[in-house]
Symmetry: C2
Subunit: 260 residues, 2 copies
């Protein structure tokens, strides 16, 4: 099942996406829902971020080549990190590159786990039982700030730096999935999505030893490989087979301000 | 004005605290409110976390002595960090020390800024205009995990490690405030709350160069000095003059589970 969050006629709602038709629901996939008799065409709505998480988790260095190319050891244990909600944008929205960013702005295509049920103390065997489904994230990063700052606050959490979407797919085969990143239509990298240093169940089990996961929490699972520098005018697509494609144009800050 | 978030008769609401009486409102201090005719006594309600933030910001190393004693240089610029909502608890609730924590569990008494208005690109001069008010936080930390882990996920964001409250005070004089920490009733440290490396306006101005602050966001401003090890059975009080006192008992994980 595909859960989509969308706006139409000034109202934001969840719906079930079947082909290119959205069956609007009352409620949401977390607290419960009922189908309404309102149906929309996918082309006729504004796609929104699929969920605004209570807590926004993100794994770092979770693919071997990406870690090694970045000059890091592969981590010895699953220490989860964080990103910030201010930076979230939806499929199709613009990533705005700040005026004073260096040229070293890059993409990171990531599988995103969406938690569906409150969870604590889950074994690895039971861990996936708290998952509602999966979506896609682009962990846009300004590498010079990432190196110079004490935290990731502006390198990874500048407004618009966290595209997420386009929707949540509940039925996936993790081992069959591929992540493909395209820059202006040209494939840059293709990797097995589930070839992680620590998999989804391992992270959830480790995290829930100490913390409670809540419905709507998201866990971004890290990325493989490296990215060329992305400049204003570029379009980045992250496809994960079985989910869909997250597509976002990059623009310069001046252009975006002029549009407001 | 003092904003309190509380539960009574199974319902959670905001109210205005006047002495020991709460005047319940419809709405909240962020989107707008109207006073109702419902009045509660402070002693008769359960105090809740004053706000569940969209994004939970926290400054590190923001007082000189704390930074130097921890073996760090005082930071050269205001790089904000993050904490996680799962860890929030209210005034009076128990901090639960995990079974496998070391003895090196400590408090950090902090001023908390509560954002009232959406804000971007604020000058230092205008920065405080987006602030609704101030509350108190205890940035409980497990120092061994803080050293051993790649992130602060369990050292600072284990469930219950972020007491916040008891309420939000909108009228304060930052330069007149003192922070006093008491352990089992005995004063441990007293410092000028506003004697920060980077003050509230400096952080807000720097942050909003790149990110949008939203109503309900909180910024924990860091702590001064060091803490003795806190053990189950201890009670930590953080008082900030002009706001109030945040009081939380510490318990061992077994005790807490047995109570559930």
């Amino acid at each position: 099942m595909r859960w989509i969050r969308f706006s139409a006629a000034g109202k934001t709602a969840y719906g079930i996406l079947e082909g290119d038709r959205i069956s609007e629901v009352a409620g949401d996939p977390f607290i419960g829902y009922e189908r309404t008799n309102r149906v929309h065409s996918l082309a006729g709505v504004k796609i929104e971020v699929p969920v605004v998480p209570p807590t926004f988790y993100c794994a770092g260095r979770n693919y071997a080549i990406h870690s090694i190319k970045a000059g890091h050891d592969v981590p010895a244990k699953p220490d989860i990190g964080y990103r910030a909600n201010n930076a979230l944008i939806a499929h199709g929205e613009n990533v705005v590159i700040p005026r004073d960013a260096t040229e070293n702005v890059v993409y990171e295509g990531e599988l995103v786990v969406v938690i569906g049920k409150k969870a604590k103390h889950l074994s690895e065997k039971d861990a996936l039982g708290c998952v509602l489904g999966y979506t896609i994230g682009n962990d846009v990063s300004e590498r010079a700030w990432q190196r110079s700052d004490r935290t990731f606050w502006r390198s990874k959490n500048t407004d618009t730096f966290k595209p997420m979407g386009p929707w949540i797919e509940t039925d996936v085969g993790l081992d069959a999935m591929e992540t493909i990143v395209r820059l202006n239509g040209t494939e840059q990298i293709r990797f097995e999505t589930n070839n992680m240093v620590f998999g989804v169940a391992t992270f959830i089990s480790a995290m829930t030893r100490y913390l409670t996961l809540y419905p709507g929490d998201v866990i971004w699972m890290g990325t493989e490989g490296t990215s060329p520098n992305i400049k204003a005018g570029d379009v980045v697509e992250i496809e994960i087979t079985g989910i869909g494609t997250l597509r976002n144009p990059f623009v310069a800050e001046e252009v975006a301000n002029a549009r407001n």
